[in-house]
Amino acid sequence: MLAEVNRYRRVFLTFAQNSLVRDMTFRTNFVLQCLSSLGWTLMNVGFYLIIFEHTTSIGADTGWDREKFFLFLATTWFINSLVQAFFMPNAEEFSELIRTGGLDFALLKPIDTQFLISFRRVNWSSLANFAAGLVIAAVSLWKLAHREVDPYVPTATSVVLYIVFCGCGVAIMYSLMICLSATSIWLGRNQTLYNFWFYITNFSRYPMEIYNRGWGKPLYGFFTFVIPVLLVVNVPARLLAQPISPRSPQEWWLVAWMAVATVLSVLTSRWVFRTALRSYRSASS
């Protein structure tokens, strides 16, 4: 078992190293990609700074004031950058492999196919956004600790839980992406499905309580319990920022549900992937 894990670790490190070598071959391009994703970050930060010129919080009584919302934003940035660095390039390549029949070669390799197609490439430049997230988080934590009204420093336990549940968030996003890209085995080409991915994950970018009203309730339920994208950023961000203190029991239920949802999503994605592979018929020769 341990030897097996070790083997997968070594394979992954080789993949990561190869990708880094590849990225460093086109160094200017790499720097430009980093800069452009930082530009995107700046634009978003600018947008929310403008919003907080006009309001003290997002939603009445939600507790998402400026500093805490920026912690939320940093969480979005962490999770999205990890997904973009490790899974996005692979999911894109996967549908290409199906269309061209290159999947044959992946199936023949003496290693788990899902592992192989999920981790083959690492897009290192996306980690620039991870660094940007660190800066946003550091600034807002510092401001939060030093502000005059209602200063707040997260406890060590909440930081540990935060890191664990950020990992769970990445796992949920990964599962969703695998499910979507596995459907390209059935559909052949799924450009629209990738757009769908962006539009679905768009819901995860804001505090979930804003959907829990009026005609948003069905959406809130659907994206919490069926496709749990609302949990991805919300649960870890709430653990760290604690917008409402003391925490309500409902919040702990949500944390527990996210732990369950992570396991369920990963298992579902595994099942969808295997079922889809069974209907794969090689293309071309």
Partner: protein, 303 residues
């Protein structure tokens, strides 16, 4: 300079009738090419409205908390009973209507792959075709683009109508008066042309630098933020707003939406329209000059 010397001799003998025939042929080809993927199209258009849902809930929450906690920015309070809070002149429902209208404006002014396509043609040497054949590159691309847009509207009108019908209550003032609506239409058409000539000019940079993709990304970033696609430009802090409203980018999204919603005062409207027209002429000239200069220094790469 060199465009004239290259293409004029070929164009002259054809005459107006011939030229119209060429143009309508280009249009028809591009039009039917586009309609081939209409199913994908309609679905894609409907999905493009999904982010609006997030925007509705975001602004709903923001306006709610302002009503609840009081205004932070003294200018946001109106004293109006029906719309007590306005951010940058927009109440909650107008804000949603604004995002919906920018979708229309972007449907006119966005030019996917135009600049990168031109740069690619320059890099791969395909541009030689336009130097030899009796067809003007810019005219050809423009007709192509019009055909694509017309095909797009023909398919997208159904999803657009559906979404606007569902969201009709967000339009507080109802349908604008006729003159305002005509100004809106004119600003849309000019927005389309500004978008076209602006992006074509950026593509022409390919004559000088072989790789323009990073430059393009920078432009897209700025245009997303400063065209008003992300939020109404009146929300910008007072010290930035004058600079941004001087830029031509606002005509790509903000301006048509603001005209439709009656956010441009009636006495300023003619002047604003004139400025938009001036920007259009400016970019037409820039694009022509850049093309002529570019062709003059062009040496055919590739086979």
């Amino acid at each position: 300079m060199s465009t004239t010397s290259y293409s004029r001799p070929h164009l002259e003998p054809i005459g107006w009738m011939g030229r119209m025939r060429t143009w309508s042929m280009i249009f028809n080809t591009a039009f039917s090419e586009r309609l081939a993927y209409r199913g994908d199209f309609a679905l894609g258009t409907l999905m493009r409205f999904l982010p609006i849902i997030t925007q509705i809930f975001l602004w709903w929450a923001i306006f709610d908390s302002i009503k609840h906690n009081g205004v932070v920015n003294p200018g946001d309070s109106t004293g109006d009973a029906s719309e007590p809070v306005r951010i940058g002149g927009y109440g909650f429902r107008e804000m949603v209507a604004y995002y919906l209208m920018t979708m229309i404006a972007r449907a006119f002014s966005s030019m996917p792959n135009l600049a990168s396509g031109i740069a690619l043609q320059i890099r791969e040497g395909e541009i030689k075709r336009y130097l030899i054949q009796p067809i003007d590159l810019i005219g050809f691309l423009l007709i192509n683009r019009i055909a694509h847009k017309v095909a797009y509207y023909a398919v997208a009108v159904a999803p657009f109508a559906l979404v606007f019908y569902l969201c009709r209550d967000y339009f507080v003032d109802g349908f604008p008066p006729l003159h305002q609506f005509l100004a809106f239409l004119a600003s849309l058409v000019m927005g389309f042309l500004i978008g076209f000539f602006l992006e074509a000019s950026i593509g022409m940079i390919g004559f000088w630098f072989l790789e323009v993709s990073s430059l393009l990304f920078l432009y897209m970033l700025f245009s997303f933020f400063l065209s008003g696609h992300m939020f109404p430009l009146t929300l910008l802090p007072d010290w930035i707003e004058p600079f941004v409203s001087f830029l031509p980018l606002k005509y790509l999204a903000y301006f048509p939406a603001a005209v439709f919603l009656g956010k441009i005062p009636a006495d300023e409207l003619p002047m604003e329209m004139a400025i938009q027209a001036a920007w259009l002429v400016f970019f037409m000239v820039v694009c022509r000059v850049a093309y002529a200069r570019g062709v003059a220094r062009y040496s055919g790469y590739g086979g």
